[in-house]
């Protein structure tokens, strides 16, 4: 933790300040709700970042864990009358169990096989939600899901609840990256063979990353269900999975901060597109899909490391240049004396 504050002190400070003042800079209810949704997505993106950036794997079905979490809590609270708190705990556990089973089965798989298996899993979950009508309400969905009783459940208190959880997830993930586990993950990413020969149980670590990401997505999903109050299967499909993927890729797969920044960038773009579609009447279809696809292609082609690592390396280069210039000056001054 000490190391964490030393290394991330400045970034954490800026993050906390921005996060806390945002609802007062934008005191509009609408922007608060946008802030809440972005927070929920950030939780999923950070989880996906652990899978992609650290374990070097890919999941094209992250929205399915989100959906499982959402429906778990929604069903438990509306059909069985449990309190949202119990529902939320279950919404963390159930997707983690799914992730464990799926991950255990496919932890040995890599690359395209894994991509396709997670894509297929995403489809199965969405179809399952649609078809299991007695429980999930099918395509028409569920209504009157109770709110989380957190300081009256107003927009503002929900905002702080959710960003509080984002902060926990962020700290946990940053800490994880700089622990033994994080180093093991990076070793796997660099070379699986070398990592294995150093005694790292590659399968186990990949599985853990997958389970944690499923758990994060599930928590976020549960909160989403209680925040929205209504659910339908539509937001838990491939479109959303690709959106999560884009968030992680644009920010930089290897950086937890990148996932957060990526979520913000995509959030801004989505809001911008909503405004644009109000101005431009002929804008039919999924304009955001074009943007996500375009971003994915351009990032891989021109900035494969992503925004945050790119900016960091530019900053470090500038610092080094400055330091070099300073050193030169000092030498010159000495020579003059």
């Amino acid at each position: 933790m000490k190391q964490l504050t030393k290394k991330w002190g400045k970034s954490l400070g800026i993050y906390l300040a921005l996060m806390i003042i945002f609802p007062f800079v934008m005191p509009d209810e609408y922007y608060r709700s946008v802030g809440i949704i972005i927070g929920l997505q950030a939780i999923v993106a950070i989880g996906l970042c652990l899978v992609m950036g650290l374990a070097g794997q890919i999941s094209l079905g992250q929205a399915s864990f989100w959906g499982i979490g959402a429906y778990t809590s929604a069903v438990l609270t509306t059909k069985f009358g449990l309190t949202p708190l119990v529902g939320l705990v279950a919404s963390a556990i159930v997707p983690a169990v799914f992730a464990f089973i799926l991950g255990r089965a496919i932890a040995g798989l890599q690359g395209y096989y894994l991509a396709m298996a997670t894509l297929a899993f995403g489809y199965i979950v969405q179809i399952g939600i649609q078809e299991w009508e007695p429980v999930t309400g099918g395509a028409s969905g569920m209504i009157s899901i109770p709110q989380v009783p957190f300081f009256g459940g107003s927009e503002l208190s929900m905002y702080y609840l959710i960003w509080g959880i984002v902060t926990c997830v962020l700290l946990f993930s940053l800490n994880l990256m700089h622990s033994r586990i994080g180093r093991a993950f990076r070793a796997i990413h660099k070379s699986e063979v070398a990592a294995t020969s150093m005694g790292i149980d590659v399968r186990k670590f990949k599985l853990n990353a997958f389970v944690v990401s499923g758990m994060f997505a599930g928590i976020s999903g549960g909160l989403y269900a209680h925040y929205m109050g209504i659910l339908d299967p539509q937001p838990f499909g491939m479109h959303e999975s690709i959106k999560f993927l884009t968030m992680v890729v644009i920010g930089g797969m290897t950086s937890i901060w990148g996932a957060l920044i990526g979520t913000l960038v995509i959030g801004f773009i989505s809001e911008g597109l909503v405004m644009l579609s109000e101005v431009v009447p002929g804008l039919q279809g999924d304009v955001d899909t074009i943007v996500f696809g375009g971003i994915l292609v351009l990032i891989v082609m021109f900035m494969p490391e992503g925004l945050v690592p790119r900016i960091r390396s530019l900053y470090e280069k500038a610092q080094a240049k400055k330091a070099a210039a300073n050193a030169e000056q000092r030498v010159e001054r000495k020579a003059a004396i």
């Binding site: 496919i106 798989l109 395209y112 297929a120 199965i124 039919q284 696809g293 292609v297 494969p304």
Partner: protein
């Protein structure tokens, strides 16, 4: 019994389409070691461009021909300007890249044609005929004929011509191929072109039977890929056989279990297969972990 035969007949038709998608995957994979996740979009484009052309009063045959040409070109350009650009990218980047291309094409299609579903006129009459109590749409016969012709031509191209030998050489050993004066980059472009053309043909022939819309590509892509894995990645013949099996299994599942679960059945087959025997029924030819 009639019911069973009916399901099998239906399964053969969708299996044929999966076979074309699967072979398209393998054609590209064998040469460039890239799995083109935008493969399904070629089918969508084939169908949609034809529909759009017919909307502009272009005759059916010409519209279909132009659509195939356009999609072929898209495949070639995609290889030349995007895939070739990131030659040294890690496998995970290539997955992101091709899924990005697929997303981009799908989004553009929804912008151009909207989210409505379109249908093409069948090549011959709409009237189904009966064969031993089994109802068969005339278009199904056309589909199967088209599939078999495409598969035969591909086999002939790959096994019997000099061009096919060059393509095979690149897949076996790109370095040695280059020493023999074969350009792997050109062969890779060719492979993307072939995949685009075969995909477009498949997209056009199924459009009359099932409607076509901007988002049909994803499902067809995954199912084709499932077949490619079932048959053993890199093995076109195995993939074609597996595709027909997949089509029939799916059709039986839809008929006897639940039609809503039809797609889930195909994916369950994929996941179970990956767990039990990732190298496929007929064995992987271009062996590699996870297709890499």
């Amino acid at each position: 019994m009639t019911e069973l035969l009916q399901y099998v007949a239906n399964g053969l038709v969708s299996g044929g389409i999966y076979a074309i998608v699967a072979v398209g995957f393998i054609t590209i994979y064998n040469v460039s070691k890239v799995i083109n996740l935008a493969q399904g979009e070629f089918l969508m484009l084939g169908g949609m461009v034809t529909v759009a052309m017919i909307g502009m009063n272009v005759p059916y045959a010409l519209a279909a021909f132009l659509a195939i040409l356009i999609v072929t070109l898209i495949g070639v350009l995609m290889q030349k300007y995007v895939i070739a650009y990131v030659k040294k990218a890690s496998p995970i980047s290539l997955i992101i890249l091709t899924i990005g291309i697929s997303t981009l094409i799908r989004g553009l299609a929804s912008l151009i044609w909207g989210k409505d579903a379109y249908s093409l006129d069948p090549i011959t009459s709409n009237q189904p005929f009966s064969l031993g109590g089994v109802n068969i749409a005339q278009q199904s016969v056309w589909i199967l004929a088209a599939v078999l012709i495409v598969l035969f031509l591909l086999w002939y191209l790959m096994d019997k011509t000099m061009l096919g030998k060059k393509i095979n050489a690149c897949s076996v050993n790109p370095m040695a191929a280059r020493l023999m004066g074969i350009s792997p980059a050109k062969m890779s472009m060719l492979a993307f072109g072939i995949s685009g053309a075969t995909g477009a043909i498949a997209g056009i022939v199924i459009a009359p039977l099932s409607v076509t819309s901007y988002d049909i590509g994803v499902l067809l892509g995954i199912k084709g890929f499932s077949a490619a894995i079932l048959g053993g990645l890199g093995n076109p013949l195995g993939a074609a056989v597996a595709a027909f099996i997949l089509g029939i299994v799916e059709s039986l599942g839809a008929g006897y279990i639940s039609s809503g679960m039809k797609d889930a059945i195909a994916f369950l087959v994929l996941i179970v297969m990956l767990l039990v025997k990732p190298s496929g029924i007929f064995g992987e030819r271009s062996v590699g972990k996870g297709g890499l």
